[in-house]
Amino acid sequence: MVELRGIGKSFGRPVPRRVLHDVSLHVDRGERIAIVGASGVGKSTLLNVVAGLETVDEGHVIIDGHDLATLDDERKATLRRERLGFVFQAFHILPYLTVAQNVALPLALLGRRNAEADTRVHAMLASVGLADRAHGAPSELSGGELQRVAIARALVHRPALVLADEPTGNLDPDTARTVVATMHDAIGESGASLVLVTHSHTAAASADRVYRLTPSGLVLDRG
């Protein structure tokens, strides 16, 4: 599903600062991986690299058998649209769309705007426990509810891989627990793989494997 081979990435000019060094990772279909690490070590950068939003200086990123280096911007956008789902720390729910419209966004981008799509959106909202809020405005939701909307949005189009960057970073521990449980349930149902970046032990605990990102590479923390 996801194959990272010897990734290296540096930022900054004139003096480049190395952020990722010799990072290799293999994620199989349906596997759930958690990545932990010190702040500023490059976890978010790694997710961006997987999403094809950041290019690498060394190594290869292979998703679904495609080497990202061989794809142009348009093809990478298509890949994200069809195969990936995202959950962000800051939710990123569009305030001017309703809850249901936010969830439907990936389907709309794929050109699916029919009754079947509507059913799917409502099923997703039901699975994150927000069926009754479908036509409400995002401004009426709490942080935890917003993140559940984001999870529904990340899964609505049945992606093969979900990338989540500190999805509980803005939430209190109780809410965080519910959100993590919701996310695992929903992902388990869909059979997608997950790469989760987190500081939270609870969140990491439910992963199949936990890696620690260090300046010299990715180290298996718990297998």
Partner: protein, 834 residues
């Protein structure tokens, strides 16, 4: 609070100092500066024009306490000894004024005939100075002001050729008169003027100096009772007022136009501040949470506006003065409209108007900031902290205010003029504009909800975004709506006017050739008229005598046109409006009055009208009202035979010729010139007259258009700046959209659609308001200012082009801004907290 804390606080309210003077803020300053510059320039130009006119009248009337004035043709000189012997009159000085035509040229020269012994004490500026004192009495001697001598290219000792009838009078320049100023006129002995320019036994004016201590108003009332019809006595200041009143409406119109620019500036400040406040909502909420009072917050935002206003006003005043200087030098004090003779007029500057316009600039900035400042202070801090991207809050009060503004504006359009100025008309326009802008969020919401949500994702997102933020959307559009409304109103008015003028010219110029003598010393005698009618190729000739009569000393004189006209078919010669009639045989003879006369005297067809002709009151029946775009002061057409019978004057100064079937215009023109001598007559065809009139019209309105176009450019610049700022502020959103696989091009398309939808809403609302305003301009402002009626004519192609250009430009700006916002950087935008 310590200085450091105060500084930190003001920086927190205003953002970084560098930000205050960049981008949109700079644009707002420029808009204020532009408004102040235009307003001040127009004011300086107008002041200079009025001062020039008034000083001219003051110079020529000297120390007179009262003036006795008659029609252009003058009045019986026997009135002079009667006035001179009056018990309250100390000195009296008779004057004959003629506009003498220069032989061989189109121009005229104002020639003033005075009795030098009488003039010396009352009007010293009218006494010639030469080597030989007796020249002031010699019939062949003429004295010129230095400016006139320069203009004519003559010096003392040389001769000057003036036209009398179709003959040439040769005069000797005997010396100078008046001061070194810019006024051009000439002085001769009164008897010489009467003799040489066919004014035997007539004077046009008698200047009076009263005995000390007498009541001027009482004397004027007593003298008036004994004066013949059409002759009035009044203080010279009344004459000056009448002269300046002529162009007053035009000047007020220009002033209002300049204020419009300032209004657009205020709208732009409003847009800038609204968006700035929206952007800093979280920041303000934080400050409020930390304990800043809402009063201090409002004061902070308004303080920023005052700084904006002051900077704008200073730049504007300097630019305005430069603009006035340039305009006076290039076009004269009427900007080419033809009210004033060209000449070097110095700009008039006074501290009060500088202060007034500086205050106007600051006021515009403060008014523009008031609503956003209140908005910022009313926002509940907790909600604002949470929803940083929420829409601009539209104060609930603004909706009823909008309808009140629109309603009151519509009602005011039906109120009459105040002191002959369309004050309520202008107020109606201002209220409709304000109401329309306050109603924008409601209108925008209605318009956007009328659109179906498209399947195309970028378009659907664009529409959803706009629908959800009508307040922000409306504040971005305020300046565009205001300027588009005014521009389209002006375009509709000008087009209606031009179209009506064109139609009018076709009706008014039915003949093949028109012949005119310029000034009032050249004329065609009865023998000339017969000779011209008999020229080969001329099938039919009609003649006209044009002169002026005074119906009211406080108003400019009215033009009297005595012409060959068939009372049963007046519409063949005149652009009649509304009903007309033919007077019964036993009723007074017909007179056709222009709209200006009808408005001023409240006359309708069938009413009786008394006109002073040759010192006697003659009754006429109003037979019809006609449109006269040529003579704004008002004009009256009567039959020439009646005029000749009443005045004994059968000379004319215009002729209309119809050619025989096979005759050529060129040949007839040559025959006319051969008969009269080259340069003594102006011979034109209707085509030439039409071209000339329309060219003058276009030149006059070019200034207007330039002003309006500038306002639209400012409005559009404001919209573009707002679009760019808003796009940059939405980087995070675009970052998310790119994560979920929306291509960069699709985001660009989405923003372009938003820009186009925004501009289209602005254009539609602007056009609707503009149409309403154009009706007020046509039926209220123009009618009450200039007494010009016109038929509505909408320039659809130009308006459509204007709208299309604005929409395309807005879409393109948004598109460009999106390239900025979705660059690699933008993808990292979500990283804000990722």
């Amino acid at each position: 609070m310590s200085v450091a804390a105060q500084y930190a606080l003001s920086r927190a309210i205003s953002g970084r100092a560098r930000d205050v003077l960049k981008g949109r803020t700079l644009l707002a300053v420029m808009a204020i500066a532009f408004g102040v510059a235009l307003g001040y320039a127009v004011h300086v130009i107008n002041q200079s024009a009025v001062r020039e006119l008034a000083s001219g009248v003051a110079l020529l009337s000297g120390a007179a306490d009262l003036e006795v004035r008659g029609p252009r043709e003058g009045f019986d000189e026997h009135l002079y000894p009667v006035l001179a012997r009056d018990r309250d009159v100390q000195d009296a000085s008779p004057v004959v004024e003629v506009d003498a035509k220069l032989a061989g040229a189109r121009a005229t020269l104002q020639v003033i005939g005075v009795d030098v012994f009488r003039a010396r004490s009352i009007t010293p500026a009218l006494v010639g100075r030469g080597d030989d004192a007796l020249d002031t009495l010699r019939p062949d001697a003429i004295f010129l002001t230095r400016a006139a001598a320069r203009g004519l290219g003559v010096e003392p000792g040389q001769s000057l050729h003036l036209q009398a009838g179709l003959q040439v009078a040769t005069l000797r320049v005997a010396g100078y008169v008046g001061d070194d100023g810019d006024r051009q006129y000439a002085v001769m002995d009164i008897a010489a003027v009467q003799d040489r320019f066919a004014r035997d036994g007539r004077v046009t004016r008698v200047d009076l100096r009263l005995a000390p201590g007498v009541d001027r108003a009482a004397v004027a009332r007593r003298l008036q009772a004994s004066l013949p019809a059409g002759v009035h006595v009044a203080p010279p200041a009344t004459t000056a007022d009448a002269v300046t009143r002529f162009s007053r409406a035009y000047r007020v119109n220009l002033d209002v136009l300049a204020l419009v620019a300032l209004f657009t500036g205020a709208m732009l400040v409003y847009a800038t501040q609204t968006l700035a406040v929206a952007r800093r909502r979280t920041q303000f909420a934080l400050l409020r949470t930390l304990g800043l009072s809402s009063r201090r917050l409002v004061a902070g935002v308004l303080g920023e506006a005052i700084v904006l206003g002051i900077v704008g006003a200073i730049v504007g005043l300097v630019a305005g003065y430069a603009l006035a200087l340039l305009a006076l030098q290039r076009f004269g004090p009427d900007l080419g409209a033809g009210y004033f003779e060209p000449g070097a007029v110095r700009p008039s500057v006074d501290a009060w108007s500088i202060l007034a316009f500086a205050l106007l600039g600051v006021l515009a900035a403060v008014v523009g900031s008031l609503l956003p400042a209140l908005d910022a202070s009313h926002a509940a801090p907790a909600a604002a902290l949470k929803a940083a991207d929420a829409d601009v809050v539209v104060p609930a009060r603004s909706r009823p205010l909008a309808w009140i503004g629109l309603g009151a504006g519509a009602a005011m359009a039906f109120l009459p003029a105040v002191n002959e100025l369309p004050i309520f008309g202008y107020l109606a326009i201002a209220l409709i504009l304000l109401g329309g802008i306050l109603a924008l969020p409601t209108l925008a919401r209605a318009l956007l909800h009328a659109l179906p949500v498209p399947r195309h994702v970028p378009a659907a997102l664009a529409l959803s975004h706009l629908r959800a933020t009508p307040g922000r959307f409306a504040s971005m559009l305020a300046a565009v709506v205001a300027s588009v409304a005014l521009m389209s109103a002006m375009a509709i008015m000008v087009d209606s006017f031009r179209d009506s003028l064109d139609a009018w010219l076709r009706v008014m110029l039915p003949a093949d050739i028109y012949v005119r003598t310029a000034g009032d010393t050249a004329f065609l005698s009865v023998a000339d008229q017969q000779a011209i009618s008999a020229l080969p190729g001329v099938a039919h000739a009609e003649f006209m005598r044009a002169t002026t009569i005074s119906l009211d000393p406080a108003r400019p004189p009215v033009v009297l046109l005595a012409r060959d006209i068939d009372a049963h078919d007046a519409s063949a010669r005149l652009a009649l409006v509304g009903a007309s009639m033919v007077p019964r045989v036993d009723a007074p003879p017909p007179a056709w009055i222009s709209e200006a006369v009808a408005d001023a005297a409240h006359l309708r067809p069938g009413d009786t009208l008394t006109l002073p002709i040759a010192g006697r009151d003659v009754a006429f029946t109003v037979a019809g009202i006609w449109r006269d775009y040529a003579r704004q002061q008002g004009s009256i057409v009567i039959e020439r035979k009646r005029y000749a019978a009443s005045s004994g004057d059968a000379t004319v100064n215009e002729a209309a010729l119809w050619l025989a079937q096979d005759a050529r215009a060129g040949a007839v023109r040559n025959a006319l010139l051969a008969y009269a001598g080259t340069g003594r007559l102006q011979v034109t065809t209707p085509g030439e007259l039409r071209r000339l009139s329309l060219a003058t019209f276009d030149r006059t309105f070019a200034v207007t258009y330039a002003l309006e176009a500038a306002a639209v450019v400012i409005g559009l610049a404001g919209l573009s700046a707002a679009l760019v700022a808003q796009t940059l502020a939405r980087r995070r959103e675009f970052g998310m959209l790119r994560h979920v696989g929306m291509p960069r091009r699709a985001i660009g398309r989405m923003l372009a659609i938003e820009g186009a939808l925004l501009a289209a809403t602005g254009v539609i609302v602007g056009f609707v308001l503009g149409f309403a305003i154009s009706l007020i301009l046509i039926h209220v402002v123009n009618r009450q200012s200039f007494h010009w009626g016109m038929d509505l004519h909408v320039p659809w192609p130009s308006l459509a082009a204007l709208g299309a250009v604005l929409i395309v430009l807005a879409a393109a700006t948004a598109r460009l801004a999106s390239n900025h916002a979705t660059g690699q950087d933008a993808v990292r935008a979500v990283r804000d907290d990722w």
